[in-house]
């Protein structure tokens, strides 16, 4: 995000021939925005506005957008990992089952094993649970990755097997029993009013995000200028900063406009010994914790894919596996790391999903693999490998969830929802194919 035009996105060159008449096209080119990303945001905006009109204004409300963001978090987290998997010309069909399995493991860990050691509601319980989920998921993914990389079994087969194996393993953890309730602190990871950080902290998060983005943009500009490379004109830099800041501040305003339910506010007031006679104040939700987790994962994964050797190798392998091998890259180790990372993200998503449900069930995450893959694909990840962005996949997850949420608001029945989502997936890939052809 800090640098819209990177090596990995087909952004228009800033070194386009000069001497043409200045127009809107040139102005847009100066901004160096990723046209495909702009297209995705446009598509999302169309979906949102259409649903808002169709539902008579029930879609673009703080309440619905807040819920939408919470519902997207789990799939969005996994979609960031799926981008890297698909970029390396592989697929992971087991993510929903890994989520189910690790969800059961954290459920049993915090509801049965840890309480025997240090009792219920220990402040460390949620930390141990999350670390365990990430470690177990990462180990499962790494094992699958090792089979794919070192034994040469195709990822489709290995993870298809994994889909059955880990779903079965999820059942075996408790022989099918649901585990509930979850630890109080852990439950906040799933959202709900206890999992929202409130108005003040939301502003702080928002301001910190704006400052970091601006700093990143300016540091990049100074480095490019220092090397004597072409940089965006100052006005364009200003516009980009304004757009980023507006998006962040907008998000804060939305989540801070969604009030906590009246009984909750009354209980909070009473708990603090305050009088409720003078009417109840407006107490905002603020950002939901699972959404902050998803955003942090998105930023981290973007950094990983664009600023580290590992990320560079992932894309190089996707572009030309043989060339990557001949360049001396240990492609097998990179593959194990990609699948291990995917598994670890499934573990994190398992925490969000389990916390949100306030229960660990062996069916948790069923069919998630399809939503995760669809999110990555709608977000512009190419099945041919080598192309994809983390931000795109997260927007893809948002588009999918928006469609479902909007159809629920419209009262569309479930089978019809599936039909629409399926058609949108195919149509999105077709549009993307046209776009790519246009580039050549």
């Amino acid at each position: 995000m800090a640098e819209p035009s990177t090596t990995l996105s087909p952004a228009p060159s800033s070194e386009a021939p000069v001497g043409r008449r200045a127009g809107i096209g040139d102005a847009l080119r100066a901004l160096e925005l990723d046209t495909r990303m702009v297209g995705m945001i446009g598509a999302l905006a169309i979906v949102w506005i259409s649903f808002d009109i169709l539902t008579g204004g029930a879609f673009l409300t703080p309440r619905n957008l807040w819920n939408l963001s919470v519902q997207t978090a789990s799939v969005a987290v996994m979609a960031t990992g799926m981008v890297l998997v698909i970029v390396t010309r592989n697929i992971d069909l087991s993510v929903g089952s890994i989520l189910g399995f690790t969800g059961m493991v954290v459920g049993v860990l915090q509801a049965r094993i840890l309480p025997e050691i240090w009792g219920f509601e220990n402040p460390l319980t949620w930390v141990v649970a999350v670390l365990a989920a990430v470690a177990v998921g990462g180990a499962v993914g790494a094992v699958q990755g090792a089979i794919i990389a070192y034994l040469g079994v195709s990822s489709f087969i290995v993870t298809l097997g994994g889909l059955l194996v880990w779903r079965g393993a999820a059942w075996w953890v408790t022989t099918g029993q649901t585990v509930a309730p979850m630890d109080g602190a852990f439950k906040r990871l799933g959202g709900g009013f206890e999992g929202a950080i409130g108005a003040g902290p939301s502003w702080m998060v928002g301001i910190a995000a704006v400052l970091l983005s601006v700093a990143a943009i300016l540091v990049t500009r100074r480095r490019r200028a220092g090397f004597g490379f072409p940089v965006r004109p100052l006005w364009a830099e200003g516009v980009v900063i304004l757009l980023v800041a507006a998006a962040i501040v907008g998000a804060v305003l939305v989540v801070n406009a969604y009030p906590l339910p009246v009984p909750v506010v009354r209980r909070m007031m009473e708990a603090q010994g305050l009088s409720t006679d003078g009417g109840l104040p407006f107490v905002a939700h603020g950002f939901a914790i699972p959404v902050l987790i998803a955003v942090a994962v998105g930023v981290g994964m973007t950094f990983l894919s664009r600023r580290t050797r590992f990320g560079r190798y992932v894309f190089a392998i996707g572009g030309n596996p043989e060339a990557a091998e001949l360049s001396g890259i240990n492609t097998k180790r990179v593959m194990v790391m990609v699948f291990g990372l995917m598994g670890a993200l499934c573990g994190l998503s398992a925490c969000i999903a389990t916390a949100r449900l306030n229960a660990a069930t062996n069916a948790n995450g069923t069919l998630d693999e399809l939503y995760v893959i669809a999110a990555a694909i709608i977000g512009g990840t190419s099945m041919a490998g080598g192309v994809g962005t983390i931000l795109g996949a997260m927007l893809g997850a948002m588009v999918m969830q928006s469609l479902q949420s909007g159809m629920v608001l419209l009262g569309v029945d479930a089978p019809m929802q599936n039909i629409v989502v399926g058609l949108v997936l195919v149509a999105a890939v077709y549009v993307d194919t046209l776009y790519r052809k246009g580039l050549k």
Partner: protein, 270 residues
């Protein structure tokens, strides 16, 4: 008799040890000996052509030197020192760089990322230093292809000649001492072929040794000092280009017949 000829050849070239020497190298794939007891050498500032039909084993031999395959038998020496090359990384550590016939570029990333692939420059934080890499890419590309400006685009958007420049830039940027060029002009037009020829001469003057693998005997006669000819995995013979006619070389390639001016190898027809 062979020994006398060897001595004659050795006196014609400087008495320093060869830059690269492959001795009695063999490799088999599923019982078929793709390379069978081949010995070749290369001196600093020398261009040596490797000739032979498709399937003669020249590409396989060179892939052993570049680390893509590990030899079953034989020895590789660099500057007289025995080295173990079991991966492309080992070869690069010995200063051996390869420009593959397929170019071996990652099409989806830009020129700088390709040039530094596997050898990225890092910042003090351990992150990719894309700016420093782009700066160096601009320098090395400026030397090879001064008009090149498309540093931000994935290399699949580039022309054949530009892609070739990127592959060459990757090979020469890291102080290569030995350059292997596998069919460097196969995909190029006449102007670009000439450009590669100029580059070969320039690198030669810098003291770099070059193995030139080619089907095109005219290319080899234009650029090479010596030739090694292979047939059916064996070395037919070695000769100085100035001592040979094109017909004699064609006879070596097609019939495996070693003319009087060449040093016969194990694969020479009786």
């Amino acid at each position: 008799m062979m020994g006398a000829q060897m001595t004659a050849l050795a006196t014609a070239i400087p008495a320093t040890p060869p830059l690269v020497e492959m001795r009695d190298v063999s490799i088999a794939f599923g019982g078929i000996k793709a390379v069978d007891g081949v010995s070749i050498d290369l001196y600093p500032g020398e261009v040596v052509g490797l000739l032979g039909h498709n399937g003669a084993g020249k590409s396989t031999l060179i892939k052993i030197l570049s680390g893509a395959y590990a030899a079953d038998h034989g020895e590789i020496r660099v500057n007289g020192e025995p080295v173990h090359i079991t991966s492309p990384r080992d070869a690069k550590r010995c200063g051996i760089e390869t420009i593959y016939q397929t170019l071996a570029l990652a099409d989806n990333v830009d020129a700088a990322a390709n040039i530094f692939l596997g050898r990225e420059k890092l910042t003090a934080w351990g992150t990719l230093d894309d700016h420093a890499m782009e700066a160096e890419a601009r320098k090395v590309m400026g030397r090879l292809n001064p008009h090149f400006r498309r540093f931000k685009e994935p290399v699949k958007a580039l022309s054949g000649g530009q892609r070739q420049s990127v592959a060459i830039a990757r090979a020469i940027h890291f102080d290569a001492r030995v350059l292997i060029m596998d069919e460097p002009t196969a995909a190029l037009g006449p102007a670009e072929t000439q450009q590669v020829g100029e580059l070969v001469k320039q690198l030669k003057q810098e003291g770099i040794g070059i193995f030139l693998i080619s089907h095109d005997i005219h290319d080899v006669f234009d650029l090479a000092d010596r030739i090694h000819v292979m047939k059916n995995g064996k070395l037919v013979g070695t000769a100085r280009v100035s001592d040979m006619t094109k017909d004699e070389v064609l006879g070596m390639i097609i019939l495996g017949k070693c003319p009087p001016g060449a040093v016969p190898g194990p694969g020479a027809a009786a």
